[in-house]
């Protein structure tokens, strides 16, 4: 009966040492692997989410994002790998005491009221949260006037809002949100963005799995991109999106002028439109110098437009790249 309590008691000295280190990361996982029969869902995933950091988990459908999240939360047993949540090994249920979770499949007891669902989760978390704070939590997700209504009568969007309140109610230090806006209307999505920003301001770490890249780009400090159960790329948004492009519309481009363009960066041409991929370490003079040189070479310049690569373009680039290629 107490098979998992045995696991908690048998912390070896190394784990105890790790647990006692100050300000352990919110999530640390290493070498996670999971197979379902013949299908490999997760193959060697490692990453860290720092305290107070908002990290986006991105990737196509079936990349293993939800499985990774479930492994972190002890809902799925990994075949290999280690997880520490807030400095404690995830085998120990107490590691989840300050963790809030909104599952991708959000369902709450239809026969309880919204307020009762929150009460239940506060009790299960073992937290002391006054009634006033619980009401504020419901209000923060826009359910203040539905606190006494049974969840069975809620729309999907309202249930997802309730799920957000459940994830936030027990004063978490880490919040794991799996597709938090999948059932929400545009206003709801904006609310979630505000909630994420307020969590960030309160130094609550967030692990966010979302397909809405605009949202991720706006709130995340870092992203990990999963593909086929592996980490395809990871880094800060600055690192991943550092590449910029320069789009030019030109006329009278000689071979010499084209060579000058190619010096600035890899060049693609379609008629009079030229696109130069600028290196990440370009300085402020690169573009004006290029334009001046082109004019000097007799090129007529109609338009010069610096473009920042969006996360979506970068994600598609990474996912379409050959597996052997270095994707960083």
């Amino acid at each position: 009966m107490n098979a998992d309590s045995a696991g908690a008691l048998s912390l070896d000295p190394a784990e105890r040492l790790l647990a006692e280190l100050p300000a352990a990361p919110a999530v640390w996982c290493s070498g996670l692997r999971k197979r379902y029969r013949r299908r490999t869902a997760v193959a060697d995933v490692s990453f860290t989410v720092g305290r107070g950091e908002v990290m986006g988990l991105l990737g196509p459908n079936g990349a293993g994002k939800t499985t990774v999240i479930k492994i972190l939360l002890g809902l799925v047993r990994p075949d290999a790998g280690d997880v520490l949540l807030l400095g404690r090994p995830a085998r120990d249920p107490r590691a989840r005491a300050r963790v809030g979770y909104l599952p991708e499949l959000f369902r709450y007891q239809p026969w309880l009221t919204a307020a009762e669902v929150l009460d239940l989760h506060v009790r299960l978390a073992g937290a002391a949260v006054p009634a006033q704070e619980r009401r504020e939590c419901l209000a923060a997700v826009g359910l203040a006037d539905r606190a006494g209504d049974r969840v069975g009568g809620f729309s999907k969007g309202m249930q997802q809002r309730l799920g957000l309140a459940v994830a936030l109610v027990a004063r978490p230090e880490l919040v794991v949100l799996d597709e938090p806006t999948s059932a929400l209307d545009p206003i709801g999505r904006a609310d979630v963005r505000d909630l994420l920003l307020s969590l960030k301001a309160r130094q609550v770490a967030v692990l966010l799995n979302s397909h809405l890249l605009g949202e991720v780009e706006r709130v995340c400090d870092r992203v990990v991109i999963l593909d086929k159960g592996q980490v395809a790329a990871s880094g800060t948004l600055g690192e991943l999106l550092g590449r910029r492009e320069l789009r030019l519309r030109l006329d009278g481009v000689s071979a010499e002028a084209e060579a000058r363009l190619a010096v600035a960066g890899p060049l693609t041409r379609s008629g009079g439109s030229f696109t130069v991929a600028l290196p990440a370490d370009q300085d402020a003079t690169t573009v004006p110098d290029l334009v001046a040189d082109l004019v000097g070479l007799g090129v007529r310049v109609h338009a010069v437009e610096p473009v920042r690569i969006s996360l979506e373009e970068r994600l598609l680039d990474i996912l379409r790249a050959d597996p052997g290629e270095d994707r960083r």
């Binding site: 379902y36 809902l75 047993r77 979770y101 909104l102 026969w111 299960l124 459940v166």
Partner: protein, 281 residues
């Protein structure tokens, strides 16, 4: 911390039974059964003129056991269909995800649900059983010799069945677990009757069917013990020919058998906890 989680889930299970109208449907079924039995017993009383007092007691005892069998069936169906969805249904719907991501052990969750179901099943057996005793007492002036033992054994029978339902619900789908639990309960009862026939005919092979099934799933053995506590002890001495009747029992339940039933519950609950602990959600 563990006790707090166990109690929270026990309370949640009782709350679910109350809110999901399980209580109301059970109450309706029970009231129908009790009303029918009240009518039947009052008719029995009206026919007393042509019965000897011994015959009348015989009839009262048999009908009481028959009605109690009906009640135990309602308790069995009710708890099996509550126990089924409680784990499997919550996994299927996703309700368990948010709860099991809390700092709780799955074994505590299961134990809490089990406690809640035991309280619910036993509460039902006690309330419905006592009402039935009252009806019999008022109509034909019969009070069972060991009402407490009888009700306790009925409660134990319900507990055995819901423990099985809980184990099944950690492995198979909600509907299947309810159906399999009730099906096994019925099969064991029939095997018990077959065993009784074998005993009456002196056929050891057939008698063994009842014995083995009573060991594999202790519901029928406990039910026979409960009947023994409810029937008039003088009856079988007066009418030994009725000894093989399926709604009368010749012998009380033994301590060894009770111990086995207890061990059975612990073992099955332990296996359920192990299966649930290893399960990916």
């Amino acid at each position: 911390m563990t006790a707090r989680i166990v109690l929270a889930f026990a309370a949640l299970t009782l709350q679910e039974a109350a809110r999901r109208r399980v209580v109301r449907s059970l109450a309706v079924m029970t009231i129908v059964l009790l009303a029918l039995s009240a009518w039947g017993f009052s008719r029995l009383d009206a026919e007393f003129g042509t019965f000897t007092s011994g015959e009348a007691r015989m009839a009262a005892t048999q009908v009481l056991n028959l009605v109690m069998f009906g009640l135990s069936l309602i308790a069995a169906l009710g708890t099996a269909f509550l126990a089924g969805p409680t784990v499997a249904g919550e996994i299927e719907s996703g309700t368990s995800l948010a709860m099991l991501a809390r700092p709780v052990r799955r074994s505590s969750v299961l134990l809490g649900k089990w406690l809640g179901l035991v309280a619910f099943g036993s509460g039902f057996v006690v309330v419905a059983g006592l009402t039935q005793f009252g009806i019999v007492w008022a109509t034909v002036d019969y009070w069972p010799p060991q009402p407490v033992t009888g009700l306790a054994l009925l409660g134990a029978q319900t507990t055995v069945l819901l423990t099985l339902g809980l184990l099944l619900s950690t492995v198979i789908s909600p509907m299947a677990s309810g159906i399999v639990a009730v099906g096994l309960f019925g099969a064991t009862w029939i095997a018990g009757v077959v065993g009784g026939v074998g005993q009456a005919l002196g056929n050891e092979g057939v008698a063994l069917v009842g014995t083995v099934s009573r060991m594999l799933l202790p519901t029928d053995g406990l039910w026979r013990g409960a009947m023994h506590g409810l029937q008039d002890p003088a009856l079988l001495e007066q009418f030994p020919a009725f000894g093989d009747f399926p709604f009368l029992s010749q012998a009380p339940v033994t301590t060894a058998y009770l111990a086995w039933a207890g061990l059975w519950v612990v073992l099955v609950l332990g296996v359920a906890a192990l299966v649930f602990w290893r399960r990916d959600l």
